[in-house]
């Protein structure tokens, strides 16, 4: 039988808390028998993104920008 992981995006503001909790309680009552478990994650301000730096030659955040890659010398006297 297939298992599913449900990720719930929740309104983290203080005003929504009571309504959110009520919703969780209701969900648990209605679907408790099919739930394997559940847990709350930390608030989103604790999150960090892990960005791989690419493998070998490739970097994810790079670009073919003329400014850094072609223009860098600026004003330069021509070679004699």
């Amino acid at each position: 039988m297939a298992e599913y992981l449900i990720l719930i995006h929740q309104d983290e503001s203080a005003d929504a808390e009571e309504q959110t909790m009520a919703g969780h309680v209701r969900f648990g009552q209605e679907h408790g028998s099919s739930l394997r478990g559940g847990n709350a994650l930390q608030s989103s301000d604790t999150a960090t993104s892990l960005r791989p730096d690419g493998a070998g030659a490739f970097t994810i955040t790079d670009g073919a920008f003329a400014e850094t890659k072609e223009a860098l010398g600026g004003y330069r006297s021509r070679r004699p």
């Binding site: 960005r51 791989p52 690419g54 493998a55 070998g56 030659a57 490739f58 970097t59 994810i60 955040t61 790079d62 670009g63 073919a64 920008f65 003329a66 400014e67 850094t68 890659k69 072609e70 223009a71 860098l72 010398g73 600026g74 004003y75 330069r76 021509r78 070679r79």
Partner: protein, 430 residues
Amino acid sequence: MAAVTEEEGVVSVEAAVADAHRREWAYVLAATVRVTGDIDLAEECVQDAYAKALTTWPTQGIPVRPAAWLTTVARHRAIDVLRRRSTHDRFLPELAGSASDGTDGNSSAMDRAGPAELGEISDDRLRLIFTCCHPALAPEAQVALTLRLICGLTTAEVARMFLIQESTMSARLTRAKKKIAAAHIPYRVPVLSELPQRIYTVLDVVHLVFTTGHTAPAGDDLIRDDLVAQALHLARMLRTLLPGDADVAGLLGLIVLTHARRTTRLDADGSLSLLSDQDRSRWHAGEIMEGLGLVREALQRRPPGRFALMAAIAAVHAEAPTWSATDWTELVGLYDLLVVMWPSPVVALNRAVAVGFAEGPASGLKALDELADEPQLASYSYLPSARADMLRRLGRTAEARAAYRDALVLTDNAVEREFLQARLHEPTSS
């Protein structure tokens, strides 16, 4: 076909098969994946088809359209194999799904005027590209798969692109294909509502390939022509397949405009030639015209996408008749927009360089200082080299030297190293 001796006939068949392999392999593969839904099986069937060509063409003659012949044979083989496999019911929905375009929501893009077969081939390559560039796969895997399956590079060639061993690349490709199968990544063009997000992944891959080719991060050559050629080819293909998409137009515009400068990037000794020194009469004017048209098209979408903005930046450079005529103020303005669309420290860095030219090195340095603690730039040589350039222009020579040294530590490209060394050893009085 002219009558030839038996020996000459065999040689020309081998040449024809080799030619068909080089030019058509990716098309034949894409068309076969459509039948199998399984990339590995498709690859095997395509191999079989090419092998069959070697044995049958000497007697049957070389077909007028080798790609069509190979595709037919590969697909028949695939259907044979699938029939004999008893437990692959999960492929049947894939077959059913890919047989009709009804669920795609993209039939208008596909129903382009042209031979039905050509349209079908274009469909298949588009499906395969979206499969290779699925966000569930790691970015390196997306790039590797695209280079292998869409560009038709051998595993060894892809390994060279990444500067890793062939065996490592082979394992990476195998894992990626397994993941596609295990995650049931569907072999289809995303539905209309998913398309904007999914296109970005494909564009990212193509952009990455181009970036790496434009200035190779390591090695002896500044430019990797092979990668640039692949990126241009992919971008043009995307443009053909999705002619109305603004981001696709933007990416192609960016590549075309940047590529137009290719003959002037190196001077006669093979040293790095700066934008200020490049002979603009040798920039390819026709390609610039093409690029400018694409930029105009790309900018029609509101808000402009990041590829449209990058292309617009490239256009400002392309349109400047001389270095001193470069509209740096407009460039800063475009970077201001780009930094919002794409909040990458690399973008901020390039913006700072533009500020340095628009307002002077002191302002530029201030903008760079804000990036000093960016972890993503910690091993990015262009940050210290940009600082070095600003300090040099401000006459703060000792600090400039220190920064050039920092940049050298981080630079693996031989041509860039030579340039930085030359800067480092320039006489103090300048």
